[in-house]
Amino acid sequence: MQEELNQFERNEVWELIPRDNSHQVIGTKWVFRNKLDEDGNITKNKARLVAKGYRQEYGMDYDETYALVARLEAICLLLAYASLMKFKLYQMDVKSAFLNGFIKEDVYVEQPPDFEDYKFPNYIYKLKKALYGLKQAPRSWYERLSTFLLEKYVNIFCKFKFM
């Protein structure tokens, strides 16, 4: 649990502000999972702080939620092309990926259960980035990733010629 909160700190996900009755505050909860490896042994106990996204209201807390996902054909094409060109494919993992996406709307959440700030237990958090469980979280993460990739690699793609 502490590890997960450290991720929040590192990504500057939120800031503590005094409670104000004018805005809707969304609850949070902890979700625990055991991660299994290929043979079914427990390798990791995982804790994830999620927002109760069902409390969000359309137009107030979120707007667009559609996020693109990879189609199977696209994955097959990539694999086929990589093997044709003799590329070696590597896999990467982004830890707490959704905590990287910026959100445009003002969303307020409660402090995580059992991890309240001891000085200001009544304060709430204002989110700067998305949280797991929020309706716009996948979209905001996709947006962040695609802008980054396009900025970084658009020049390389332009130079790249198809065989």
């Binding site: 094409l77 086929a80 590597y90």
Partner: protein
């Protein structure tokens, strides 16, 4: 961000990158689902469906648990990602999901038996071939015996590797 090394396991697909190509299979997923439906100890079948097999609505026969039938179809639909060979038969069975009967379940179980024997099958993407994109298309005329609708199928090959395939019964 952390590096996980060479791509070997991705979305339930086992990917093996070798010197002369790439092999994709879902044997782990396949075995897992066979186990889930208690089919991991049955006999193996060499073909997914009998040559004289004919499916219709079968209104008089015994009903089977719809939830289980749907569960079977749904679990194996994901296998199509690396197994185009079972797609046509699975899709035919999927048409009877609304009202599954015993005869339909027998056909699905035949597919499972076939899968048991061929769990390690997958797609092979060879390297060192010319990267030409070839598409194949075929359609029958009124092939479905229930409502006389046609079905079509396509597949696309990049070089020698199959990248996209589909089979569909026409709406009209």
């Amino acid at each position: 961000m952390s590096m996980m090394g060479e791509l070997t396991f991705f979305l339930g697909m086992q990917i093996k990158q070798m010197e002369n190509g790439t092999f994709i299979s879902q044997s782990k997923y396949c075995k897992e689902v066979l186990k889930k439906f208690g089919m991991d100890t049955t006999k193996e079948a060499s073909t997914p469906i009998g040559t004289s097999c004919y499916l219709d609505k079968d209104e008089s026969r015994i009903e089977v648990n719809q939830t289980m039938f749907r569960g079977m179809i749904g679990s194996f639909l994901y296998l199509i990602a690396s197994r185009p060979d079972i797609m046509q038969f699975l899709c035919v069975c999927a048409r009877f999901q609304a009202n599954p009967k015993e005869s339909h379940l027998t056909v699905v179980k035949r597919i499972l038996k076939y899968l048991k024997g061929t769990a390690c099958f997958g797609l092979w993407y060879p390297s060192r071939v010319s990267p030409s994109l070839i598409g194949y298309f075929d359609v029958d005329y009124g092939g479905c015996k229930i409502d006389r609708k046609s079905s079509s199928g396509t597949c696309h090959l990049l070089g020698c590797s199959l990248v996209s395939w589909h089979s569909k019964k026409k709406l009209v």
